[in-house]
């Protein structure tokens, strides 16, 4: 036997070869993992350890025109969850439901929705009490992926005052997110009021916190920090005192108030009733509260000053009157015979009152339907439509509030298109007293009355006055925006209308709006509506010689404007008296 090779040697050598081949296979696998796919795995390992948290920017403060803060922020805690770290959503939701006081199914739905972006924290409940934060910290190990972040929430210093003008916040929806790519999921965004229209000014810029976490998702160290930039502040034209008077007037009723400077369009008060507590939304509204708000048949979420349209009733007679005066159909002293009714072919239009012989002024003061029917008939629907449109009806005013309705100024063509019926002379009569098809919003009426007061200028009503940076420097000023109404009213016509409206307040249907020592012009309205008791309107302005204030009060089913709306207007005129000191442009500056 050869001493150098034992019989088993070749077999050992082959075994060695097999081992070598298997090692080569492993080396090949290492090559593929590390050399070829290494970059991808490096990225995955970074994703493992890096968490970018949003540092929410405090929203800008909202001030009234006097510089008094109306909406600020207060620090609060938000409980969020990182979806990627939740292995058992069912269990987590069960554990958190009792701690957070949120229904399990809702938590699950939020977790599920958040799985699209597994590294973004999903807010489960905002503004939780400290006791909840402590409970979560104590049970941290049972709650993987749950984080508590400090996040400022909105504080409404005046409670529900100005709710509809100020608006409320809510979490951005998928739909909004698609339209606004600069926002991120989970961001709070203005849902109504100026919070919504001026959201870009108010929201600021969120910061980012890059944190290294361990496998359990516990933060190990902060790697980088980008501070948030607080949002800009917004100074409104609203006057908190006047707003308070407006809302007091509406208390217990359903309706709206608009107070505006007709020269500039500055909105001094804007109220809608019933209202709600915007603070309910600060920490994300609970399903129970949301159900209650949306199920309320009085629709508290609806901003009646701009979003709903109503028959203007006799307030529309301002349009008819101006058209008649402007077109020479009537003069100040033209006489009308009021027998309490008007015959049109085989139809008889009846009023409740027989006024006897009236001139234009008296007829306006007592809101004589018969006179305005006659004027309307003489004018025809085209000219009525033209004047109504010239005074801004039938289209949005452009006020800086969301959801503004356009209203409706009917025409023969419109009726044919929508109702498939011709325009009847009776329609013209109805229209001339603001009945029938005409629909307006309170803010449109305010602008219309403002145009009458100032001689034909249509201003754009606006709530925002100035935008201030967090350090107080002025970023933007919202000035007066007007358009010329295509009306050429003679001074005589304007004076006649003004006199008629003055007579409304001085002994006419709107006498309840009168304030001693203040020259007020106005018009009341009781708008018949098919849904029951008539709506009550008062729309007026003051002082007559140098108009600085338009007041519109609307009460749903208030029956008589003179009895229900006019007294509220009077309170507003009184309260606004300090603001009426002569000032050439705008009112008091903060």
């Amino acid at each position: 036997m050869n001493m150098d090779t034992a019989p088993w040697s070749p077999r050992v050598a082959r075994l060695g070869l097999i081992i070598l081949l298997v090692f080569a296979l492993i080396e090949g696998r290492l090559w593929s993992l590390q050399a070829i796919d290494g970059g991808r795995y490096l990225e995955l390992s970074e994703q493992n350890r890096l968490r970018d948290y949003k540092v929410p920017a405090p929203r800008g403060v909202i001030y009234d025109r006097g510089g008094h803060p109306m909406v600020t922020n207060r620090p609060a805690f938000t409980v969020s969850v990182l979806p990627m770290e939740v292995s058992d959503p069912q269990r987590l939701a069960s554990g958190l439901a009792s701690i957070l006081g949120v229904e399990r199914d809702e938590l699950l739905a939020r977790l599920e929705a958040g799985r699209v972006r597994p590294f973004e924290p999903v807010a489960l409940r905002r503004d939780v009490p400290k006791s909840v934060v402590m409970t979560i910290e104590e049970r941290r190990l049972d709650l993987p992926g749950v984080i508590v972040q400090a996040e400022p929430v909105r504080e409404y210093l005046l409670g529900s005052l100005g709710t509809h003008a100020l608006g409320h916040l809510g979490e951005i929806t998928e739909e909004e997110l698609r339209a606004k790519p600069q926002y991120r999921a989970g961001d709070l965004i203005g849902k109504s009021g100026v919070e919504r229209t001026h959201d870009t000014h108010l929201r600021g810029e969120n910061g980012r916190l890059r944190v290294e976490v361990d496998a359990a998702g516990r933060p190990v160290r902060v790697l980088s920090r980008k501070s948030s930039r607080p949002g800009n502040s917004l100074v409104l034209n609203l006057d908190a005192t006047l707003q308070g008077v407006a809302e007091k007037g509406l208390r217990g009723r359903t309706g709206a108030v608009v107070v505006m400077d007709p020269r500039s369009g500055e909105v001094l008060a804007l109220a809608s009733a019933p209202t709600f507590d915007p603070g309910l939304f600060s920490g994300g509204i609970s399903p129970a509260n949301w159900r209650q708000l949306t199920a309320d048949r009085r629709l508290p979420l609806l901003n009646r000053s701009v979003e709903s349209t109503y028959e203007p009733g006799s307030v529309f007679k301002v349009v008819t009157g101006l058209a008649a005066l402007g077109e020479g159909v009537t003069q100040r002293d033209s006489r009308f015979e009021c027998t309490g009714s008007l015959r049109l072919g085989r139809w008889v239009f009846r009023d409740l009152v027989v006024h006897g012989t009236v001139n234009f002024i008296k007829g306006t003061a007592v809101s004589c339907n018969v006179m305005f029917w006659q004027l309307g008939r003489a004018l025809g629907e085209d000219r009525l439509e033209h004047y109504a449109r010239a005074l801004g009806l039938g289209r949005v005013t452009g006020i800086d509030l969301p959801g503004e309705a356009a209203g409706l100024v009917p025409s023969a063509a419109w009726k044919q298109r929508v109702w498939k019926e011709p325009w009847y002379p009776g329609d013209t009569l109805n229209m001339s007293i603001g009945q029938g098809f005409v629909l307006t919003t309170p803010v449109q009426i305010a602008r219309m009355v403002g145009a009458v007061a100032t001689g034909g200028k249509l201003v754009r009503p606006h709530l925002a006055r100035r935008v201030l940076s967090p350090d107080g420097t002025e970023v933007m000023v919202f000035g007066r925006e007007t358009e010329d109404a295509p009306l050429t009213l003679t001074p005589a016509a304007r004076h006649a209308m003004r006199e008629g409206m003055r007579a409304v307040v001085e002994g006419g249907t709107g006498a309840a709006a009168a304030v001693p020592g203040m020259a007020i012009a106005g018009k009341t309205g009781s708008a018949e509506n098919p849904r029951g008791i008539p709506h009550a309107w008062f729309a007026g302005y003051a002082p007559i010689e140098s108009p600085a204030l338009v007041v519109v009060v609307f009460i749903e089913h208030g029956r008589r404007g003179g009895e229900v709306a006019a007294p509220i207007a009077r309170a507003l005129f009184e309260a606004a008296r300090p603001l009426l000191a002569p000032q050439p442009a705008g009112l008091v500056r903060p």
Binding site: M3, D4, T5, A6, P7, W8, S9, R11, V12, A13, R14, L15, G16, I19, L20, V22, F23, L25, I26, E27, R29, L30, W31, L33, Q34, A35, D37, G38, G39, R40, Y41, L42, L44, S45, E46, N48, R49, S87, E212, V213, D214, A215, A216, V220
Partner: protein
């Protein structure tokens, strides 16, 4: 005489052993970096390596033929030891594999059994000059099957599989026909479904997770996904020693034991991983050279068995880490934490040295 003997020692094998053990210490430091018990882990490792070195020297100095004296007694003792686990054993991590040894921690009979069975099997085969038929393999298959079943019951599937690998390698070198071994493998494949039924649910999940770790990313597939991320993210040169984020931030569970190779892959990259694999290859090359040059059939078979044992450990452990093989939970020799395993590997190395020192002249 003594100087001549020292020159006869296989210094390459010793060098490879020391370097692999050094890799292990560094990997352990990294895997336990920053943890409160890092120091105690290091102390334990130092103790295991020292005891192992003593065993290595003692076994190298002893004639290997002496181990094989009363192989039936050793075999029976091994079976008793394995069975004693079910009576005396501690249950750790769901398995009853350890016997508590006070200050020394635990003792894992299945680890010692591997080495003992290599010897008894080699001794059992020593007198058999040929294995002409499939049937002639049966006594040896039974030799391994008995302890293997006991080990599977612990449950420790990985170690049982090591025994099968050792059996195959030793039988092959002993002269079994390749087609007969293939027949045994085929029979094992047929028996697999029955064995599958004996497994615990978690074992089945672990065994199948490597095929699609993404199917259960936070359960059975988690460690696999994270270990692939760790190794892959090391790229060519690694993230740097003690700079592996997967390691430092504990993304890999039980990293200091079964998944210790991820530390090397992540922190030292392809270069470091290849270096470690290269050291194992050197070790295995020396072990197989010792088998080739053994004075007698017993020495050759013992050396082959030890080499097969270590090779199987390395291949299965690293293969599992890189997602090539199922997770069976067997340690990476001299690198993974585990006293008995380190002791066994060093004792095996001592035996190799003993065989080498008493090799055929001229080989």
């Amino acid at each position: 005489m003594r100087a001549r003997r020292l020159r006869e020692v296989d210094w390459v094998l010793i060098g490879a052993t020391i370097l692999i053990a050094a890799f292990g210490v560094v990997a352990l430091i990294s895997a336990r970096h920053g943890s409160a018990d890092a120091a105690s882990f290091l102390r334990a490792r130092a103790l295991h390596l020292s005891l192992g070195a003593l065993a290595l020297v003692a076994l190298a100095a002893t004639d290997y033929r002496q181990f094989a004296g009363a192989w039936q007694v050793v075999y029976a003792g091994t079976l008793v030891l394995l069975a004693s686990v079910f009576v005396l054993g501690d249950t750790r991590m769901g398995a009853q594999r350890w016997i508590a040894l006070g200050a020394f921690g635990g003792f894992q009979p299945s680890e010692v059994a591997k080495l003992a069975l290599v010897i008894t099997l080699a001794r059992h085969l020593e007198g058999v000059k040929s294995l002409p038929r499939l049937r002639s393999l049966f006594p040896f298959a039974l030799h391994i099957a008995l302890p293997a079943v006991l080990i599977v019951r612990q449950p420790d599937l990985g170690t049982a599989l090591v025994l099968l690998a050792v059996l195959a390698a030793v039988l092959y070198v002993a002269g079994a026909r390749a087609q007969d071994l293939a027949g045994v493998a085929a029979a094992a494949a047929v028996a697999a479904p029955f064995l599958w039924r004996m497994l615990h649910d978690y074992q089945r999940r672990r065994l199948t997770a490597f095929l699609d770790p993404g199917a259960d990313p936070l359960g059975a597939g988690y460690a696999l996904i994270q270990s692939k991320i760790a190794v892959g993210s090391g790229q060519i040169f690694g993230k740097g020693l003690f700079a592996g984020t997967q390691s430092m931030l504990r993304f890999i569970p039980e990293q200091h034991t079964d998944f210790v190779f991820t530390v090397v892959g992540e922190e030292l990259g392809l270069v470091g991983a290849t270096l470690l694999l290269g050291l194992y290859l050197v070790w295995l090359w020396r072990a197989l050279r010792i088998a080739e040059g053994a004075r007698d059939r017993l020495g050759a078979l013992v050396a082959t068995g030890i080499a097969a044992m270590v090779a199987f450990h390395v291949v299965v452990n690293v293969g599992m880490t890189v997602g090539l093989m199922p997770v069976t939970g067997i340690p990476l020799p001299l690198v993974s934490h585990g006293g008995t395993a380190i002791l066994t590997t060093l004792a095996g190395t001592g035996m190799l040295l003993s065989i080498h020192l008493r090799r055929r002249p001229g080989s």
